[in-house]
């Protein structure tokens, strides 16, 4: 005896249900600026970017007394926090290389014209079926360091522009996140 096509369709339906439920699922990395503050991931890639840029500075401060000044454009609402953080970073860098930090003969002007992040979302769906979802954070940093001697002459100029990258990938919006540092791909 053959089964009626309508009944056969009904028998298949429960098998399809979990698949359909899976398709309309959703997973979102949610960052709500600025009320909840700069997210942990963004802070992490900004800090990494700064430390990488610092490695590019070719100045040898050993045995010198260096006065460090930092000027930044970035930072949320005010650049004060960013400037203080970078100054502390440079202070430790200089002292570790045998310098004394404070008013003195040498002057180090550190400019941070760019230090910020961008977030890109990618959604690949077919007929409202989400197949791939990714969120990519990219830190852009540009550091300019000008060193002047006791007579105010420029002893050197260094520029660095290393950024950071991090992508979260979800498949079908439920499997994941697979953290992928984009630079390591």
């Amino acid at each position: 005896m053959t089964t009626h096509p309508f009944l056969r369709g009904i028998q298949i339906f429960p098998l399809l249900l979990p698949f359909l439920a899976l398709l309309c699922s959703c997973a979102t990395v949610d960052y709500l600026p600025p009320e909840q503050g700069t997210s942990a991931e963004l802070q992490s890639i900004l800090a990494q970017s700064l430390e990488e840029n610092l490695k590019e500075i070719g100045f040898d401060p050993a045995g010198k007394t260096v006065d460090i000044q930092v000027r930044a454009l970035g930072g949320h609402q005010t650049p004060l926090g960013l400037e203080r953080y970078v100054k502390s970073l440079f202070q430790e860098w200089a002292v570790q290389r045998g310098a004394i930090v404070g008013p003195g003969e040498w002057r180090m002007e550190v400019f941070l014209p760019v230090l910020g992040t961008t977030a890109t979302q990618r959604n690949l769906s077919y007929r409202n079926v989400p197949l791939y979802y990714s969120e990519r954070f990219r830190a852009s940093g540009r550091l300019v360091v000008i060193v002047k001697d006791g007579e105010g002459r420029t002893a050197g100029v260094w520029q660095a522009g290393k950024g950071g990258d991090l992508a979260d990938i979800y498949l079908m919006r439920i499997f994941g996140p697979f953290d992928v540092p984009v630079g390591n791909r």
């Binding site: 009320e35 700069t38 919006r173 996140p177």
Partner: protein
């Protein structure tokens, strides 16, 4: 007769399924609305827990009886000179140092040791997962990554550097959008 009975059973099954589907379209979503509500409780508790974990291994025993001055630097948001995270972190570190026998100096000039704390990370990130209609999850992860540098104030030399890391996760999930929340902390 047999056919009619089967059709009636199918109709009943379909009705139950329809009801489940109707239930499945309901939604339980925890939403945070700022800034009138301030920072959410999850966003406060997870970094605080992460900080406790990070500071578990921190030791100030080497500076017993000495006076300390603590400066904290973070990449967090602020409206003035010092952010909320910096104020909190400075006070917390001071308590930890005092409990291990150090003293807090009244000014930077009076301190024996200067402690610079750079917080590479002090914050949270949140992930929501929606597996309609079965599970809805919201995860808040607090992350703390500190770099400590101890300076001798007199000479300006670095005595010691230390990295401290801690993470805390808070997970809340709902089943069928109706049952829950089930909470887990780690």
């Amino acid at each position: 007769m047999e056919k009619r009975k089967k059709a009636s059973q199918t109709f009943r099954g379909m009705s139950i399924l329809l009801m489940i589907l109707l239930l499945a379209t309901s939604c339980a979503t925890k939403r945070y609305w700022g800034p009138s509500m301030g920072r959410s409780a999850d966003s406060q508790s997870t970094p605080a827990d992460a900080l406790q974990k990070a500071l578990k291994s921190a030791s100030f025993e080497a500076y017993k009886g000495k006076s300390l001055w603590i400066d904290v630097y973070t990449l967090t948001d602020r409206t003035g000179k010092e952010s909320a995270e910096e104020r909190f972190l400075r006070s917390w570190m001071a308590e930890k140092a005092v409990s291990q026998g150090s003293r807090m100096a009244r000014s930077k000039a009076e301190a024996d040791i200067l402690l610079d704390v750079k917080a590479r990370v002090f914050g949270v990130h949140q992930t929501r997962r929606d597996f309609i209609p079965l599970v809805y999850m919201e995860s808040t992860q607090g992350v703390v990554d500190l770099h400590l540098a101890f300076y001798e104030r007199e000479s300006g030399k670095i005595l010691r550097t230390e990295d401290l890391k801690g993470e805390a996760r808070y997970l809340e999930y709902y089943i069928l959008y109706m049952i829950g929340p089930f909470k887990s902390v780690d």
